[in-house]
Symmetry: C2
């Protein structure tokens, strides 16, 4: 028998409990041993829960119980998740998490502690919800040097952008609908401003390079300024708009990472990823392009990724499976101002395009003109574009 404790009985935590209770024999077969939940930690009371005896408010109950070998941290946030995780790893317990904030902030230290203590820190569910991406990047693509990855990593913003394209909704109306359906929070800033996608991009970039990429070093723009003119003109030239987290690794191993709305050609499979779905396109030197697609959020999809990690933790008790990435390396990140893009520009200034050699005018709507530039460096572009709206084009 392998005993697990669940920290946080919110959406994901209750999903993990549900899956472990629903498929115990098939999970036990895959894990090589039966997995049982011994504790659930939550500050709230659940007196009517059928297994109310499992609940505790005292983390020491879990930490000091030598029978508990797996701690499932699905509380979210940094405090107290960080100290709880660290203490569990130092005690030789495996920790499984969906907490992207914690992984993106303290992952390097926690991965190193896991190694030193011959245990594991697994976080498949921190990126892409239920989509298998962490393990494939680590294992299946191990024979490849990854040259870039482009991900639709946030379901809320993808839902909003899909509505804007398919139904002509405004950003505000699409956001309101997403909120009404429970796809967006009442305070949607973390999603619509790209912060959520930024944490996930940092995790993927760290995996792809094997070195810690700090999310603070990734320029991040949200989708709040996208208008119907953008949508109409993008469609006209065969593109959709997606919030893309990208990391490109050049021949010297240096990284360009950015989270921003991008024009994505309709010839790319990424353009067909609609609604709350997520997808990550990865290019490897041997493999070419692979894409992973699925539900990037939600109770059971995310919980199923957590439980897959629990199974793997049970199979690797006291064996550190992998060191996913090491310390940050100075000079790893290229200066974002030197990154080069083609830009889609929307402006009221009929003569703006003239400032951009090679720019191609593509029309206009609602008193605005739209043009597309030739590839140029960010700093040169910004020196000319002023306050006009623009969207970078995904190559």
């Amino acid at each position: 028998m392998v005993y697990a404790a669940i920290l946080g009985f919110g959406t994901v935590g209750s999903g993990v409990y549900e899956i472990l209770r629903k498929n115990p024999s098939s999970i036990g077969k895959k894990a090589g041993d039966t997995i049982d939940v011994k504790y659930i930690l939550d500050i709230r009371d659940f007196p009517d829960h059928p297994e109310a005896h499992l609940f505790t408010k005292n983390y020491d109950d879990i930490l000091n119980d030598e029978e508990v070998s797996i701690v499932v941290e699905v509380m979210g946030g940094l405090k107290p998740a960080y100290e709880f995780t660290k203490a569990a790893l130092l005690a030789g317990k495996s920790v499984v998490t969906s907490n992207k904030e914690l992984v993106a902030t303290h992952g390097t230290e926690l991965i190193a502690i896991a190694k030193e203590n011959k245990t594991n820190y697994f976080f498949e569910a921190s990126v892409g919800g239920g989509i298998p991406i962490i393990r494939p990047l680590n294992q299946c693509l191990a024979a490849n040097e990854i040259s870039h990855l482009h991900g639709i990593l946030n379901g809320t913003t993808n839902y909003i952008l899909t509505k804007m394209f398919q139904e002509g909704s405004s950003f505000e109306d699409a956001l309101k609908e997403a909120q009404d359906l429970g796809y967006a929070e009442r305070n949607p800033e973390a999603d619509v401003e790209g912060h959520d996608a930024c944490r996930k991009t940092a995790i993927l970039a760290s995996l792809a390079t094997g070195k810690f990429v700090d999310y603070n070093d990734i320029p991040t723009e949200g989708i709040t300024k996208i208008t119907q003119t953008d949508v109409i003109m993008a469609e006209k030239i065969g593109y959709v708009i997606k919030l893309i987290g990208s990391a490109e690794i050049d021949a010297d191993g240096k990284v360009n990472a950015i989270v921003a709305p991008r024009l994505v050609s309709k010839t790319s499979l990424l353009s067909d990823v609609d609604g709350v779905f997520n997808a990550i396109m990865v290019r490897g030197d041997s493999l070419g392009d692979v894409m992973f697609y699925g539900r990037g959020a939600g109770k059971l999809p995310t919980a199923s990724a957590v439980v897959a990690d629990v199974i793997d933790a049970a199979k690797h008790f006291h064996i550190n499976k992998w060191v996913i990435w090491g310390e940050a390396e100075s000079g790893l990140m290229n200066d974002p101002e030197t990154a080069s893009y083609r830009y889609f520009v929307r402006t009221k200034d009929a003569s703006l395009a003239e400032k951009f050699p090679g720019a191609e005018e593509i029309g206009g709507a609602d008193g605005e003109f739209v043009f597309v530039t030739a590839p140029m460096q960010e700093k040169d572009f910004k020196a000319q574009v002023g306050d006009n709206a623009y969207i970078r084009i995904l190559p």
Copy 2:
């Protein structure tokens, strides 16, 4: 140092050699030890190869060399691959393969032998070329009961069907072009008749159920009878045609598996998988739909999947990582004649549709009429359809 031997220096074998020689340090880091190629077995001579001393024609050189812990079997076919694999596993060596024929035929026995001898038989490259699918099905989706999987598993046929849709080519012209480009063999039967996809479907179905599914039990139809009328009429109702290998697992754990051309709705992401690309859509009870997409064939994509397995084998020396599936179980497969589909029927008989209650006429071309039936069992459908052409519709 971990020593590997490559059996078969054809397309995939030379790709494996190339990748291992190209990225030794990053591969070594991921494997935890340097991986070196000690032998290459081939019946041909390669006197001009820069490492001509590696070549041998005598398998005993490899089998009896205790330093060789990993055997890469990329010869294809059953003979002598089966006996070479068995001997290597019995000697405690790990075997990594891309040989779908062998896995689909003798996989159950070889998996069991690997377990008994505390070693591993890995075959990520046997399905989907470079696409990670075997490991995700085993690990990442371990917390899910899989209810179905639908795969575009053969690049040659997908290339042909894409040409027929995008350029209005006939089957014969598209096949010829695929042959000229090297995407199809001079004798294309294994691809166009669905045999290749059938082996891969059997492997995936075995993985999804945990029990051996014999490819001989999977009804298999190819794409040679698809005409431009099919293409035009499918487009008219919002579908494309893809060769799909599918396995559906019902609530009792029984399996319906079939390989056949299917009408795939343009609202499905599978419909956007074009050219030589492959994709596998999998539905899990917790996860919902996930899709894996990439190059299903080719030297380096396939070799990169092989090398990922080599790395995993190096990390699990003398530890059996998993028993992927067990023995066949009688009664596992549902009778294919009781499977239910909607059918797309093309006929010269203007009154045929009347024999199918609920059938919907959708028009015609070139003196043929096309209609779509309501869902009905295969045996009832076949009793009425006679010699007329039909295509099953993917739900």
